[in-house]
């Protein structure tokens, strides 16, 4: 008789990395639908492109690094990276933008650092920032929802735009793209126009943020809340991030409503909600202690506001996340919880431990 003799515990919750990652993808489905509704089929094609590229790059790198391919390819992490990156790329961006971003995210930001669990930065954000810095033109061409609707750009049209660069009706991309709500606010504020005037005079603004953007935001929020409810992510980072962003934007908004947009605008514009629930909560690159996650979230919220308001980029989410990724290990070190039976948490700065008294 041969008996198994593994060490305890002998049971497991059954929650695996891939089931966590799949739930993250599932939580994004409502937002994907809303996005497609407002901005056309571009996102769906981008998702397919990005995910396929991410998986191929992952498989290639695992092969080169001589790691087992099947378990890592099916863990769902490359899937999530591709999905999140596709979410950040303009829906009608040329195909090579998406492919390049996804490949860079997986190969450089993830696999070159050691693969799953070892990347210090969020791969999707690294891919996005690389694209944003290298191809600013392609990365800022957004076709707003009203134009997508007017022109009735269908699935085939979208494929055509993405792969050949040919817009329907012989229109050019320059003719169709417009600044995003965040862009508009930033540029117009620079021209001494008040926030109220900017919003009133422009069709891309809806109730809180941009017309389509705010709806996508709603559904992202819904998916995020579901993730918290399912214990896939903890509440700390989203609450801290959104809380700090609301507080700081409310403060400036009260100071001068003409010069600073309202907290609601900040929440429902750009990638704020996506960052709060899906990007900043990437466990590998985020802080892991409960208190640390709060500081980490606050840091991102504040940085988003600072970059949006006084920085050179209209949306600071990617930079804020990457900057806080760098701080995560230090935050973790100084936010160790107080262990049961100890008077207070232990965090000395010097690495050498207590002297054991074994000096002669």
């Amino acid at each position: 008789m041969n008996l198994d003799t593994p060490s305890s515990p002998h049971i497991h919750s059954g929650v695996r990395i891939n089931s966590m990652m799949l739930r993250v993808c599932l939580a994004l489905v409502p937002a994907i639908i809303a996005y497609t509704w407002f901005f056309g089929w571009g996102l769906c094609i981008n998702i397919l492109l990005a995910v396929a590229t991410a998986l191929c790059a992952e498989a290639l790198m695992l092969r080169i690094r001589q790691r087992p391919i099947a378990p890592f390819l099916t863990d769902g992490s490359a899937l999530v990276t591709g999905l999140l990156l596709a979410f950040c790329i303009p829906p009608f961006a040329p195909w090579w933008i998406t492919v390049m971003g996804a490949a860079f995210a997986i190969i450089v930001a993830k696999q070159l650092y050691g693969g799953l669990g070892y990347n210090p930065f969020n791969p999707a954000m690294v891919g996005y920032v690389m694209l944003l810095i290298s191809f600013p033109l392609e990365m800022t061409q957004w076709v707003p929802p009203n134009i997508v609707n007017q022109l009735e750009i269908g699935f085939i049209d979208t494929l055509n735009i993405i792969f050949t660069g040919n817009f329907p009706y012989q229109l050019s991309i320059d003719a169709l793209t417009m600044a995003t709500p965040l862009d508009t606010i930033k540029t117009e504020l620079g021209l001494n126009v008040t926030v109220t005037e900017i919003i009133r005079g422009n069709a891309i603004f809806g109730d809180f943020g941009g017309v389509g953007w705010e709806w996508v935001g709603n559904w992202v929020l819904l998916g995020g809340i579901w993730l918290i409810y399912k214990h896939i992510i903890s509440w700390h980072i989203p609450v801290a991030l959104l809380g700090s962003l609301v507080i700081i934007s409310f403060f400036f908004f009260m100071l001068d409503p003409d010069a600073y947009p309202s907290p609601m605008f900040h929440l429902f514009s750009g990638a704020t909600l996506l960052a709060a629930f899906f990007i900043a909560t990437d466990p590998v690159s985020a802080s892991t202690t409960p208190r640390g996650r709060i500081y980490y979230g606050i840091g991102i919220g504040v940085l988003i506001y600072v970059i949006r308001t006084w920085g050179g980029y209209p949306d600071g989410v990617a930079f804020a996340v990457l900057l806080m990724n760098m701080a995560a290990p230090t935050i973790d070190y100084y936010t160790q919880p107080r262990v049961y039976g100890h008077p207070k948490a232990h965090h000395t700065i010097h690495p050498s431990r207590r002297d054991d008294g074994d000096k002669p």
Partner: protein
């Protein structure tokens, strides 16, 4: 109404408790052979006082305790000692341990020296403790600490005696069944313990998924009018049944790290221990049997009243398990139990549950065969940890063998409950890593201690040699001084004469030396020719000497 507190983390587990509680407890079949390990507790193993071939009776002392933290062993049934030898026991490293093996005769004849106590109040607390010690009672919740030691308040004033009825691991129901069937006896046992400890009040903590047991206890407390006993329901969260966690839930206090519950005026015992104490005092019976849950993929999961020393396989087969289809047998619960390598391992005083899983069983056992994934720092482990550790960091440092850093992160506060492992989406065997790190650190400390001893021994040797040398010198000096003193008494005149004679001799010798060093006369009045020859000879000698010097220098260089 008792106010309850919460401990950090913990996990909700599927209970699997229904099956084994469906029928009353019954006595297990008498095994053909009993295997009684000399060590069934934490501390020093007992010492056998019977020999092979001896006839023993039920309840007879067969091994006596050694030292304070130790417990005696009694024969669980009558029969013949057939061996005192190593036998497979429950041990994570598959070690075997010395056991007394008894062939039972089926007669169940009791020993005659049982001494029931009619009224325990007549005896002083020390005498009660002595009787509990003589009955071989150890903590029956799993750790097996000798009960009499934990019933000794020593210098502390004990405020609260907690009885642990929070059986939080899945499948295990032996305490629950004991409370259902013997609530009154447990309460009497508790009162005896309270008397031994001189504690002010008692709390019985019981998980709120054991309604019947709770009601039975409350009923008996009311009947006996023991108003100093609170029966309290606590939330069903694993590991509420951990001593430190239960104390926290019931009192809000934390046992200091590295300390004992006694340090905060609390003592915690298992309900099974209270029952054993009751039997020891009321009937003079030693601890020779206990309730054991047999569950898993056996046909009839149930609780049995088992003689200590019964082989595990006997019980599995009695409950409809099949020896040939077993794939994993766990002693204890699925979270902290030890997987057995041998099914002839005996039930000991600390065995509360036997889980037998068949190969084709539909039981959700963790398959440790699959390769764990890398840690993604999701923090689920830290969220689940009941002592608020950061298992993900501990794991990191254990892998890096950074044993200093891992202690900074309080490795030794880990209670090995397995919550982190249970929730880890990467299926990393975290507890396994922590055990490994602890063992390594203990080994290092042991080596360091040995090195220290060796160094001290060396230093002592050096000091001793030095001291002996000094003593020798002193002895010599003393001896000489003594001799001098003797001579000194002989008279100073003779001494003076002797000195004068010595002086004269020395003078003579000096004159003689001076006479010898006088220059030879034949170098005076030399002719120039003679002088030249002498000079030439001197020059040659000098040249030769110089050459010899050069040669020597070269030799040394080579």
């Amino acid at each position: 109404m008792q106010r309850l507190f919460q401990f950090h983390g913990g996990v909700q587990l599927k209970e699997h408790k229904r099956d084994a509680t469906a029928q009353p407890v019954q006595a297990a079949r008498l095994p053909r052979q009993l295997v009684l390990p000399l060590q069934q507790h934490i501390g020093t193993p007992a010492e056998a006082i019977v020999a092979v071939g001896d006839k023993v009776r039920k309840g007879q002392l067969i091994a006596k305790p050694v030292g304070v933290i130790s417990a005696p062993v009694h024969a669980s049934s009558s029969g013949t000692v057939v061996a005192i030898a190593k036998h497979a026991v429950s041990h994570p490293s598959h070690l075997s341990a010395p056991c007394i093996i008894i062939d039972t005769d089926g007669e169940e004849r009791w020993t005659e020296d049982r001494q029931p106590v009619a009224d325990y109040h007549q005896l002083p607390p020390e005498a009660i403790r002595a009787r509990i010690r003589d009955a071989g009672i150890v903590g029956m919740g799993g750790a097996g600490f000798p009960a009499h030691v934990k019933l000794d308040p020593s210098q502390h004033a004990v405020d609260t005696l907690i009885l642990n009825g929070a059986e939080c691991e899945p499948y295990i129901t032996c305490d629950e069944m004991l409370l259902r069937e013997h609530a009154l006896e447990v309460i009497v046992g508790l009162r005896i313990m309270r008397y031994a400890l001189q504690a002010r009040r008692c709390i019985i903590g019981i998980e709120n998924n054991k309604k019947a047991a709770f009601l039975a206890l409350r009923e008996q407390v009311r009947n006996t009018g023991a108003d100093f006993i609170d029966v309290v329901q606590v939330p069903t969260v694993y590991p509420t049944g951990g001593e430190k966690q239960l104390i926290q839930v019931l009192t809000g206090m934390e046992v200091p790290s590295g300390g004992l519950p006694l340090d905060i005026g609390v003592v915690c015992h298992n309900v099974g221990t209270a029952y054993a104490v009751y039997r020891a005092i009321e009937f003079g019976e030693p601890l020779i049997s206990r309730y054991v849950t047999v569950a898993g993929s056996v046909a009839k999961a149930r609780n049995l009243d088992v003689l200590i020393g019964t082989p595990v396989i006997d019980l599995i087969e009695e409950c409809g398990g099949n020896r040939n289809t077993l794939s994993r047998v766990i002693l204890g619960g699925p979270m902290m139990g030890v997987a057995l390598h041998d099914v002839t391992v005996p039930v000991t005083k600390t065995t509360n549950c036997i889980l037998a899983f068949a190969k084709t069983g539909d039981v959700p056992l963790a398959s440790k065969g699959s390769q764990p994934m890398p840690c993604i720092r999701c923090g689920n482990c830290a969220e689940a940890c009941p002592v608020d550790l950061l298992p993900q960091q501990l794991y990191w440092y254990a892998r890096a063998k950074d044993f200093d850093k891992i202690q900074d992160y309080h490795l030794f506060d880990c209670i090995e409950c397995g919550c982190c492992d249970y929730v880890c989406p990467s299926q990393i065997p975290l507890v396994h890593y922590f055990r490994y790190a602890k063992t390594e650190i203990w080994a290092q400390q042991h080596e360091k201690a040995l090195a220290n001893i060796a160094r001290e021994r060396h230093q002592f040797r050096e000091q001793r040699l030095e001291r002996e040398k000094l003593e020798k010198q002193q002895r010599h000096q003393q001896k000489r001084a003594a001799l001098d003193a003797q001579k000194g008494d002989a008279g100073s005149s003779a001494d003076a004469a002797k000195k004068a004679a010595i002086q004269a001799a020395m003078e003579r010798a000096k004159n003689k030396r001076e006479a010898n060093t006088i220059q030879p006369r034949n170098i005076d009045n030399l002719t120039p020719d003679q002088q030249r020859k002498i000079d030439e000879a001197n020059a040659r000698r000098k040249a030769l000497e110089a050459r010899a010097d050069v040669g020597a220098a070269q030799d040394s260089e080579q």
